[in-house]
């Protein structure tokens, strides 16, 4: 690799050896998420999107940096602020937007909504809406890859509010005793809804202690810097990947689980209906000065890896793709009533009251007697 030119390399806080194309793609992914989320907010305000809707703007570097460090078939799972993860994992923006519109063309046919982005083809095991509830599921995914002797690592994202849930601690414990290949990632934006982390979490300034309590590796990354995020996920992911446990009858190998504290910030409210009385406008604008997209743009320009024109072009593309996703969602057919009773069970049978029809014998008798 000594022949690689300096132009193709990037120097940041840590040593990377990422090709230019990958860096540009990471910037584009972040731009796409931001522009997509702007359209999401607009559509929500126009009442095209219902229910609870949580915007990822500000935190783009976390999903993009993490996913960029993974193999295509590494399972990921997250909480309800999940549009960014779905897009970063490769879900087409059209399916993501259509899901929020409740359309049949949505990733979950319009049955899941904003908080439930699932994409089997891209190994995205969902957004999950109960805080912390996905942590044991992530452990199950990691258990399964270990069981099947796959060389994977599962990434389980959650917000800082999940740290206070029992499910979080049970998941940590199981992952540790079975040396599971999993990265637990707190997207630490400082607030669980309106409660600052210091008000709700004991030892909030030392989350590493929680990992230590379970004998687990701990790492921190700057969640506003996609390259730092990538660096940490690549390092820890490689350490955890394919871990096995003698407790489960396999040869003990690999670094097992790791807890990664991604320090990030969300620019918008907790959900679309959040008046944000719990933080000052100054705090928000101060955080925005260290924006993940601006940082990456400067980085690319400073290192002559991209021109301003190219960057504008990328942004135009992200805007266009986002606009197109809205158009696609608008033009897609609604979830038809015929879909109401499908996907309750894997086979189209079940208790009569589930199918909404009388048992056959009885209908026959009612009409025939």
């Amino acid at each position: 690799m000594t022949s690689a030119t300096t132009e193709d390399k990037v120097k940041t806080t840590a040593s990377h050896s990422l090709p230019k194309e990958k860096l540009v793609d990471m910037l584009y992914q972040m731009m796409l998420i931001r522009r997509f989320e702007e359209r999401t907010m607009q559509a929500y305000q126009q009442a095209h999107i219902g229910g609870f809707c949580h915007i990822y703007i500000g935190q783009e570097a976390t999903a993009v940096g993490a996913v960029a460090a993974l193999l295509d078939d590494d399972p990921i799972i997250t909480a309800y602020r999940d549009h960014g993860h779905a897009l970063a994992r490769g879900m087409h923006p059209n399916y993501c937007m259509a899901e929020m519109y409740g359309k049949i063309t949505g990733c979950a046919k319009g049955k899941g909504g904003s908080m439930h982005m699932f994409d089997k083809a891209h190994h995205m095991y969902g957004g999950h809406a109960i805080v912390g509830g996905q942590c044991p599921l992530g452990v199950g995914l990691a258990f399964a890859t270990q069981y099947e002797k796959k060389n994977n690592v599962t990434v389980c994202f959650f917000g800082d509010g999940a740290i206070n849930q029992g499910a979080f601690h049970e998941a940590f414990n199981l992952a540790a005793i079975w040396n599971l290949p999993i990265l637990f990632v707190v997207e630490n934006n400082g607030y669980s809804m309106g409660t600052a982390i210091s008000r709700g979490t004991a030892g909030a300034n030392d989350l590493g202690a929680k990992a230590k309590a379970y004998g687990m590796r701990y790492a921190e990354c700057d969640g506003m810097d996609v390259l730092d995020t990538y660096r940490v996920f690549k390092r820890e992911g490689d350490l955890s990947r394919g871990s096995t446990s003698s407790a489960l009858g396999l040869e003990q190998a690999g670094g097992g689980p790791c807890f990664i504290n991604c320090k990030t910030y969300r620019y918008q409210g907790h959900s679309m209906s959040d008046p944000q009385k719990y933080r000052s406008k100054d705090e928000v604008s101060e955080k925005k000065e260290k924006d993940c997209i601006s940082t990456m743009v400067s980085h690319l320009i400073d290192n002559k890896l991209a021109t301003q024109d190219q960057i504008d072009e990328l942004d135009q593309k992200a805007k266009q793709v986002s606009r197109d996703s809205v158009k696609y969602a608008e033009q897609s057919p609604d979830l038809p009533k015929s879909e109401m009773f499908t996907d309750v069970y894997s086979q189209p049978y079940g208790p009569p009251f589930v199918k909404g029809a009388l048992p056959k014998m009885l209908t026959d008798n009612n009409s025939g007697e």
Partner: protein, 344 residues
């Protein structure tokens, strides 16, 4: 003639399915090195090893959620609750995640997992350990609920559950695990050919489909509907009532979800009287649901109201006499049958 305990029938079902499919594993508290808190999984660690028979810590939220995640990935977990009473701390995983994943994901991720364990009163365990969960869970769309009452049903239903693509809750009973054992007072029933399951050699394809009720005792005068342990209370009652000249038909739905209402209604149309027995509490119980469906479908065939027999509406008491008294026991069923048939 084959004799087999209920616990052995459960084990046999798991062993046979695990030999057929490497994706099937058993996880729960004390299932491996301890050989099962109730000896259900005795010997399974020796055959299948620690990869597939996994001792979990006391961590129901953690390991039941693990089961859901592993099932989403494509494995076929059997998650054992030492008691269904302990599942309550895992409510989010088993009520939210397991049964709704398929729907929420638009059909992409199902949950082919089995959750199984002891349900209902044991012996003087007090209120928190004596939960009957069927009425709580029967109203959850997306899951299936099996409640076997004999070794044959225990094996056949569990094999179906393990092969099923949907999450199945299998409700067993600590009080029935030894049924079929030599010396048990109910032993005589279990040496009936019809109450023992076939071995794998005798019938490789033995399973019992869900949603098919079993007529545990045919009769012409009154229909008694009961599932799980109360089936035996109902059979005891039927024996007593026979002496009074009342010929009871005992129908065991075997699964509450899906429910074979057809067989129940057919019986009621014949007998014109109906008593519904279930071991959960009366308000909004599975028994109430069955009674409502009987009214909906056979109102004109009934010659009296439907009578429900449930646990009394109290937390389970520790005191032995009172605990027996609160159950939907034989005496209560006899009284109900006499009343419903105007023989009181």
């Amino acid at each position: 003639m084959r004799t087999l305990q209920y616990r052995e029938a459960i084990r046999e079902a798991m062993e046979e399915e695990m030999r057929l499919d490497d994706r099937v594993f058993l996880m729960g508290e004390e299932v491996a090195q301890y050989n099962g808190a109730y000896k259900i999984s005795q010997g399974m660690l020796d055959e299948f090893g620690p990869r597939r028979i996994v001792d979990s810590p006391i961590s129901e939220t953690g390991f039941s959620g693990l089961g859901v995640g592993a099932a989403m990935y494509g494995l076929r977990p059997i998650i054992e609750f030492m008691s269904w009473s302990f599942c309550l701390v895992a409510a989010d995983q088993i009520i939210n995640n397991a049964p709704k994943m398929l729907y929420m994901s638009g059909g992409q991720f199902g949950c082919p997992a089995v959750f199984r364990g002891n349900n209902g009163a044991g012996g003087q365990l007090g209120s928190t350990h004596s939960w009957c969960v069927e009425s709580m869970f029967a109203s959850v769309p997306g899951l299936k609920l099996a409640i076997p009452s004999t070794p044959r049903d225990a094996k056949g239903l569990l094999k179906t559950a393990i092969r099923d693509e949907d999450p199945v809750f299998n409700l067993e009973s600590e009080r029935m695990l030894g049924l079929g054992a030599r010396g048990d007072k109910d032993f005589s029933r279990y040496i009936k050919d019809t109450w023992a399951p076939p071995t794998h050699k005798q019938d490789e394809d033995f399973t019992i489909p869900f949603g098919v009720a079993d007529i545990k005792k045919p009769g012409k005068d009154v229909t008694i509907v009961a599932a799980g342990r109360p089936v035996h209370f109902a059979l005891d009652a039927a024996e007593e009532l026979e002496k009074e000249g009342i010929d009871c038909e005992v129908i065991d739905p075997r699964t509450y979800r899906p429910l074979d209402i057809d067989t129940i209604v057919k019986s009621v149309r014949k007998t014109n009287y109906c008593v519904v027995v279930d071991q959960s509490w009366p308000f909004a119980s599975v028994g109430s649901e069955i009674a409502a469906q009987v009214y909906e479908h056979a109102m004109d065939d009934l010659d009296n109201k439907v009578i429900r027999v449930n646990n009394d509406d109290i937390p389970a008491p520790y005191n032995r006499t009172l605990e027996q008294e609160m159950l939907p026991n034989t005496k209560k069923i006899i009284d109900a049958v006499r009343a419903v048939t105007y023989n009181a």
